[in-house]
Amino acid sequence: MNSCRDIVDLIADYLGDDLDSRTRREFELHIEGCVDCTAFLNTYKKSTDIFKKIPCESIPEELILKLKSISGKKR
């Protein structure tokens, strides 16, 4: 049986579908019976969702204009 620490170490592989079927079953069995690991898994997943929502800065238009001049200069 995995400990909670083992489960935390395996979370990325679990979410990436990189666990063999036996380890995956053991992981899910532990999660079903452990409220803390369930909370950890949920918050780990949610953290990635939140990270993806951080507003991305777009490249400044001024820099784009400089970049566009590269092909003109090099031709």
């Binding site: 803390d36 690991c37 949920n42 990270f51 820099l63 970049l67 590269i70 092909s71």
Partner: protein, 199 residues
């Protein structure tokens, strides 16, 4: 000419100016954001972005596999950014343990882990939390930030990230996990939990 359905790198090798514009459309934001994840000073980011596209344009003939254009551009961006970074920066290493919850000797959680994942959306995606997270990400080693950016923001596969950074698949997974642990811990701190736990 439908550049979306033609091989962009082949057109770039012909020095097609429309292809270069398409290259900018597809990659300028990605290159800019990746450079920003490594470098702090806007002028350094600008230098790197210009160097990257100059390199792509002038060395496109050296790209053997046309389909590898995307990975090649990412690799040039990482290398150019790292060269710039090495000139004036010291990276802080974060260990796994810093962002793990506390465990008892038998490996069980030392204290209760609060599930804040169902917090109302307007709180979870607040501008304040976003700013807080941006600051927290500065604590990450730069290599971990690059992996997080390529994998979770740009949506690349682990193997692609490994190829771009010339590291093993297990190193990609390890860096990604470390970065996500820091993210989780930072958000938990924001919601007032200390080390992700509630006594």
């Amino acid at each position: 000419m439908d550049l979306f359905n033609m091989n962009l790198s082949k057109l770039l090798k012909r020095r097609d100016p429309i292809a270069f514009e398409e290259l900018l459309n597809r990659y300028s934001d990605k290159v800019f954001r990746l450079a920003m994840s490594v470098l702090k000073k806007p002028e350094d980011v600008e230098d790197v972005v210009q160097d990257v596209f100059l390199t792509v344009y002038s060395r496109i003939d050296s790209l053997k596999e046309d389909k590898a254009l995307s990975s090649w551009i990412y690799r040039i961006t990482v290398n150019t950014s790292m060269m710039k970074l090495r000139k004036n920066s010291v990276c802080r290493e974060v260990t796994f343990d810093e962002n793990l919850p506390g465990f008892n000797q038998d490996g069980s959680h030392r204290s209760r882990v609060r599930d804040w994942s169902r917090t109302p959306e307007d709180e979870v995606y607040s501008a304040e939390l976003m700013d807080y997270l941006k600051e927290s990400l500065e604590k990450l080693p730069v290599h971990d930030k690059i992996v997080l950016q390529l994998k979770d923001m740009d949506g690349l596969r682990n193997q692609e990230v490994a190829d771009i950074l010339d590291i093993s698949l297990s190193a990609v997974k390890s860096r990604l996990h470390r970065a996500r642990l820091l993210l989780r811990e930072s958000i938990s701190d924001y919601f007032g939990e200390g080390r992700g736990d509630l006594a």
